[in-house]
C-alpha cells in the first residue's frame, strides 16, 4: 500500500491587498521623480505665495490675485487657479500615467504576478497607491500655499467673487473646500492616466494622456460652447469651486461638475481594469492593447459626455452660453453693493447696507446690433444706487470682460471719484479702491427669471 507523505499542496493564496498597496507605495516613493514632485508641491507654493504677496504688482488676471495683499487666503486660491489648468493634470500624468507602464519597462510583471497571484489585487493596489501619492501632492499644494499666505500676509477676511466679505474662519473653510472640490477632477484625470498606462504598454504615451486631455479640454473651455457641453466635460469641476465664493453659493454647476468628474473617474478606471485583466502578462514585448483602447476606453467616455449633455439639457434651465444680460446685471449689482460698502468703511463714512443702496445694473453687449448674451469683452454696464437720505441716484460705468466660464472682470470707467482710480485717499493714507476693478462670477446654470 502506498501513502502520500507529501502534504497535499494547496494552491497559493493571493497576497492581501494591504500588503500589495504598501509595496506599490514603497515603489512609487522610491522614485526620484515622485520625490522631487512631493518636495516641489510641499515647498514651492509657500515660496511662490510669500514672494508674490510681498511684491507691489499682483497677478490680477487670476481670480483672487488682486486680494493677495489683503489676506493670506487669497494666495492659496491663486495657486489653486494656477494648478487646475496644468499642474494637477501634469501631476496625475506623472503619478498615475506610469504605474503600470513602469512594470512593462522593468519587465517585472511576471514576478509581481507570482508574488501577488492576483491581477485584480495588483490593479487595486496600484490604483490606491497612486491615489495616495496624488492626495499627498494635492495636500502639499494646498497646505503649503495656505501656510505661505498666512505667514506672509496673515489671517484676514477674504473678499468673495460677489464682493461679500468672508470672515477668516469662513475663508479657511471655503478655501479647504475648494481644494477638496478639485480632487474630483484630479481623480478623473488620474483615472485617464491609469487607462493610458494600462493601454499603451511601456511606451510613454500613457504619461501623456492626462496632459493631452487637459490640453484638449483647455482649448474647449476657450471656445464659446453651449453651457450644457461645458458642464459635460470633466475640466469644468476645475473651475466650479469659484461658485463657492458667492452668496448664495453657485452649487448647481459645482454639483454637476463633481458628479461628472467622478463619473469620468469611475468609467475610466473600470475601462482600465478590464483592459488590465485581459492583457497578456507573459509577453515581454507587450506594447499595449492598441485598438482595443478605443473600444474599451474612448467610446464609454464619449458616451458619457453625450449622456451628461442630454441630462444637463433636460434637467436644468441651462441654455445657450449660460451668460445672459439679466444674470450679468444681477451679479454686477450685487458685487457693486458689497464693494461700495467696503469702500465706505475704508473712507470712514457712515455705514450703509446693501439693502439701503438698492443697487441695480443695466448692461448692453456690443451696442444695439449685438444680442446681449454670451462671453466677450464688449459688455458695458451702468450701475445705479441710492444713498440713504439723498434723493439723487448715483451711477457708475463698468466695462466687463466676461469669459465663457462665467467669470468676469469689471473695470471702472467713471465717474473718477467712484471707480476712476485704483486707490482711494483715506484719513490714514492711500488704500486700494475696491470699486476700481473687481472680479465676479455669473452662475451659468441659474434661471434668468430668478432675479
Amino acid at each position: 500500500m502506498t501513502t502520500t507523505v507529501t502534504p497535499p499542496a494547496v494552491e497559493a493564496r493571493p497576497a492581501p491587498v494591504l500588503r500589495g498597496y504598501r509595496f506599490e507605495l514603497v515603489k512609487l516613493l522610491s522614485q526620484w521623480r515622485i520625490r522631487v514632485l512631493l518636495l516641489a508641491c510641499w515647498i514651492a507654493p509657500a515660496g511662490f505665495v510669500a514672494a508674490v504677496s510681498l511684491q507691489s504688482v499682483l497677478p490680477a488676471d487670476t481670480v483672487f490675485g488682486r486680494w493677495m495683499h489683503a489676506t493670506g487666503w487669497a494666495g492659496s486660491l491663486v495657486v489653486l487657479d494656477f494648478s487646475r489648468s496644468w499642474a494637477l493634470p501634469l501631476l496625475t500624468a506623472l503619478v498615475a500615467g506610469d504605474v503600470f507602464a513602469a512594470e512593462d519597462r522593468l519587465g517585472t510583471w511576471r514576478h509581481l504576478l507570482v508574488a501577488v497571484r492576483s491581477p485584480r489585487r495588483i490593479f487595486v493596489s496600484k490604483g490606491l497607491a497612486s491615489l495616495t501619492v496624488l492626495l499627498l501632492l494635492v495636500a502639499g499644494l494646498a497646505g503649503s500655499s495656505i501656510a505661505g499666505g498666512l505667514a506672509a500676509v496673515g489671517n484676514h477676511p477674504l473678499v468673495g467673487l460677489d464682493g461679500h466679505l468672508l470672515a477668516p474662519a469662513d475663508a479657511a473653510g471655503t478655501v479647504l473646500l475648494s481644494w477638496a472640490c478639485v480632487l474630483a477632477p484630479t481623480l478623473a484625470f488620474a483615472a485617464i492616466g491609469l487607462l493610458g498606462s494600462v493601454a499603451l504598454g511601456r511606451s510613454t504615451m500613457g504619461l501623456l494622456m492626462p496632459a493631452l486631455l487637459a490640453f484638449a479640454l483647455q482649448l474647449a473651455q476657450l471656445l464659446p460652447l453651449p453651457v450644457a457641453v461645458r458642464l459635460a466635460l470633466p475640466s469644468h469641476a476645475f473651475l466650479a469651486w469659484r461658485g463657492l465664493f458667492t452668496g448664495p453659493a453657485q452649487t448647481g454647476p459645482l454639483f454637476i461638475g463633481l458628479a461628472v468628474s467622478l463619473a469620468w473617474a469611475v468609467v475610466a478606471t473600470v475601462a482600465a481594469y478590464h483592459l488590465f485583466l485581459r492583457r497578456d502578462f507573459t509577453d515581454l514585448t507587450y506594447d499595449g492593447s492598441g485598438r482595443r483602447v478605443l473600444v474599451a476606453g474612448a467610446l464609454p467616455l464619449a458616451a458619457l459626455v453625450l449622456l451628461t449633455f442630454a441630462v444637463v439639457t433636460a434637467t436644468t434651465p441651462a441654455k445657450g452660453s449660460g451668460i445672459e444680460r439679466a444674470k450679468v446685471e444681477g451679479s454686477l449689482a450685487t458685487a457693486y453693493a458689497h464693494l461700495y460698502r467696503m469702500q465706505t468703511r475704508e473712507l470712514h463714512r457712515p455705514d450703509v447696507t446693501e439693502a439701503q443702496l438698492r443697487a441695480t445694473a443695466s448692461c448692453d453687449k456690443g451696442g444695439s446690433r449685438v444680442a446681449d448674451q454670451g462671453p466677450g469683452n464688449d459688455w458695458r454696464c451702468v450701475v445705479s444706487w441710492h444713498l440713504p437720505g439723498a434723493t439723487a441716484v448715483g451711477t457708475a460705468i463698468y466695462q466687463l470682460d466676461v469669459t465663457a466660464d462665467g467669470r468676469y472682470v469689471a473695470d471702472g470707467d467713471g465717474p473718477k471719484e467712484v471707480n476712476g482710480y485704483f486707490q482711494v485717499r483715506t484719513s490714514t493714507g492711500d488704500a486700494p479702491n475696491p470699486l476700481w476693478q473687481f472680479d465676479g462670477n455669473v452662475d451659468l446654470l441659474a434661471s434668468t427669471s430668478k432675479d
Partner: protein
Amino acid sequence: MHESPAVRGRRIKKSFGDVVALDGVDLDVAAGQVHGLVGPNGAGKTTLLGLLLGLAVADGGELEILGTPVGRTLAVPDGVAGFVDGPGLYPSLTARQNLSALASLRGYDAGRGVDDALEQVGLTDVADDRIRGFSLGMRQRLGLAAALLTRPRLLVLDEPANGLDPAGKHHVHRVITGLAADGVAVVLSSHRMDDLAALCSEVTVLATGRVVFSGPVTKLAAESGALDYRLLTSDTAAARRVALDTPGIRVPSGGDRVQRPDADVLVVRGAVPAVEELVVRLVRAEVAVRELAPVVAPLEAAFLALTGAVPTDEEVS
C-alpha cells in the same frame, strides 16, 4: 512509501501563434534532484519553466506540480519559487527592500529570513545599496535569494549562470546543492551544457520544442560518439602515421596545428574504444603520449550533436 514527484509533465504543448515553443515535452523531476534543462536559444526552456511557475498554461498535455495538477494561470501550488527572464527586481529599491517586499507579499516574516537569504548568496555587504548599480550576476544572486525566502520545495531558475563570476557561481552552486540535499527539487536551464554538468544529476536536452535526450548526465556523455581529441606526443610525424593506421581513427584534414600553431599538436577524431587503441599503438611504436584531451568537453559535444547547434560562447538572446 510513495512520494509524489516535484514535477511530472506529459506531452506538454505550447504555441505562440504559429511558433510551436513546446511540442510534446515530458519532464520528470524528483524531490532532491537538480535537473538541468539545456538547449540552444529558442529551444523552449524559458517557456517550459514559465509553465512550472504558473506564468502561463500549456495548450495541451498534463502537468502536475508538487502533486497538484495545474490547469490555470497562477494556479501553481505554494512552495514553487524562481524566475524566468531575469530576476525582476526594482532598481530604485535596495536589495533588502526588494526582498522584504516580496517576503511580505507572500506572507513570510521579513527580517531574519531576508538577512539569511542575503547571506547565503553572498550579498550581505551590499544589502542596503540600491540595485540600480548591481551587475547582472549580483541581480541573479539576489533573484535566487528572493526565491529562497519562500522556503520552496521546487526551485525554478532560468539561465542562472548568466553573468556570474567564479565567486558568484560558487555561491549559487553551494546554495543549490544545499537545497537539493534538503530535498528541494531544482530545475535549472542553460544554453550551455558545461554550466550544468557539475551541478545536475539529470538533464533534459531540448531542441526546437522537443526533448532530444533525458536522463542522467553520465548517460549523456556516452551519447557523444566520435570526438575530436588534441594529441601531443614526443614525435608528431610518427604519431600521425600510427593514427592513420588505427581503425576508427581519422585525422581531419588541416586538423593538426589548429589549436596551437607553434606546438606539435595533432587533432584526431574517434570514439572512445578507438582512441584507447590508438594510445596502445603509440606506446608500442615508442611514441610518448604527453597530452590527450577532448577538444570540446564530451557533454558539450553530446549536447551540440543532439541539438545540431554550433558552439557559441555568448548568449545571443
